[in-house]
């Protein structure tokens, strides 16, 4: 099935695949990497925006989503 059909509103309404994915985007690589996960855990308490670098040299930008009060 083509990408266009799969992403059409009608297809999504009929199939009803509406569950929010628990892990998506660049995080798919972070959660399967022990090294990247550790780096995220260590930086998460100190900053809302930071970057983590993987062993292959790829850099991931991480932003904590905290609603403004």
């Amino acid at each position: 099935m083509s990408w266009k059909v799969k992403n059409s509103v009608l297809y999504k309404v009929i199939i009803g695949n509406t569950r929010t994915k628990q892990v998506s985007g660049a995080s798919k690589r972070i959660v399967v990497s022990k090294d990247l996960s550790k780096k995220v855990y260590s930086k998460i308490d100190n900053s809302d925006n930071f970057t983590v670098k993987g062993e292959n040299g790829k850099v991931y930008k991480v932003r904590q989503l905290v609603p403004a009060k």
């Binding site: 972070i30 959660v31 998460i44 609603p67």
Partner: protein, 247 residues
């Protein structure tokens, strides 16, 4: 005998609404349905059943069929007053067709309505359409779309790629904090949490931190004292970003 007839009649009348409601509470939000018992479900479905039958009766009568309201009311309130069941037995196939067609149409419409509500995030915009699964909204980050939790329009659940959770749990070793990527969760049929699944968790006991070597780490909810959820948005930095870090 009379009670059995009345119960059967009520169940038959309400059943299209029960099945339609079941179709509405499917997939990720099915726990809203399953934690109710049959009696609660019948009461919840009475209004919907009335609405469905009103619309379907108008359509059926439009096609030239006649509904015998007299025998329906007698079935519901005073079955002893029915002298002759001939009207029912003569039209049994029409009655079966009526219920099957109504159930089928109501179920399909209910399922599509559910998908529309979820796709257009109407359950997060209007509390009337919101499901009872609060844990689902919390663990997925969909709470960011609910005004009660977040009035910040610059962030939404679409931005969330990853959830990191700190869990304070009581174990034989004392109180332990687990930190990990929340990769899955299971809700219990009574609408509580059954367990959480973390990847690459680390555990903290006092000041010591240790990464647990595991593919997936399961934390049963009954051992959890409290939870701290963090929603993360992650992007892979592109070459242009590195060249223009100020942008």
């Amino acid at each position: 005998m009379n009670i059995a007839i009345v119960s059967l009649a009520i169940f038959l009348i309400v059943s299209p609404a029960i099945i339609a409601r079941r179709a509405y509470f499917t997939k990720e939000l099915s726990k809203s349905f399953t934690y109710k018992n049959t009696l609660q479900e019948i009461f919840s479905s009475i209004f919907l059943a009335g609405l469905l039958h009103s619309v379907w009766i108008v359509i059926v009568e439009g096609f030239g069929h006649k509904i015998d309201f007299d025998i329906i009311f007698k079935l519901l309130f005073n079955p002893n007053a029915i002298d002759d069941y001939g009207n029912i037995t003569d039209n049994i196939y029409n009655i079966i067709c009526y219920f099957i067609s109504l159930t089928l149409i109501a179920t399909i419409l209910s399922y599509l309505f559910r998908n529309i509500v979820r796709y257009f995030k109407l359950d997060r915009k209007f509390s009337l359409l919101r499901y009872d699964n609060n844990w689902y909204y919390l663990f997925t980050g969909e709470v960011l779309d609910i005004k009660k939790y977040s009035k910040d329009k610059t962030i939404s659940s679409d931005d969330v790629n990853q959830r990191v959770v700190d869990i304070l749990a009581k174990t034989d070793e004392g109180e332990i904090i687990y930190r990990g990527n929340l990769v899955d969760f299971q809700l219990h049929k009574d609408n509580t949490v059954e367990y959480l699944v973390l990847s690459y968790p680390e555990k903290k006991i006092g000041s010591k931190t240790k990464v647990i070597n595991s593919s997936y780490f399961v934390v049963p909810y009954n051992g959890i004292l409290n939870l701290n959820l963090r929603y993360l948005s992650t992007t892979e930095e592109k070459e242009e970003d590195k060249e223009n870090p100020s942008e």
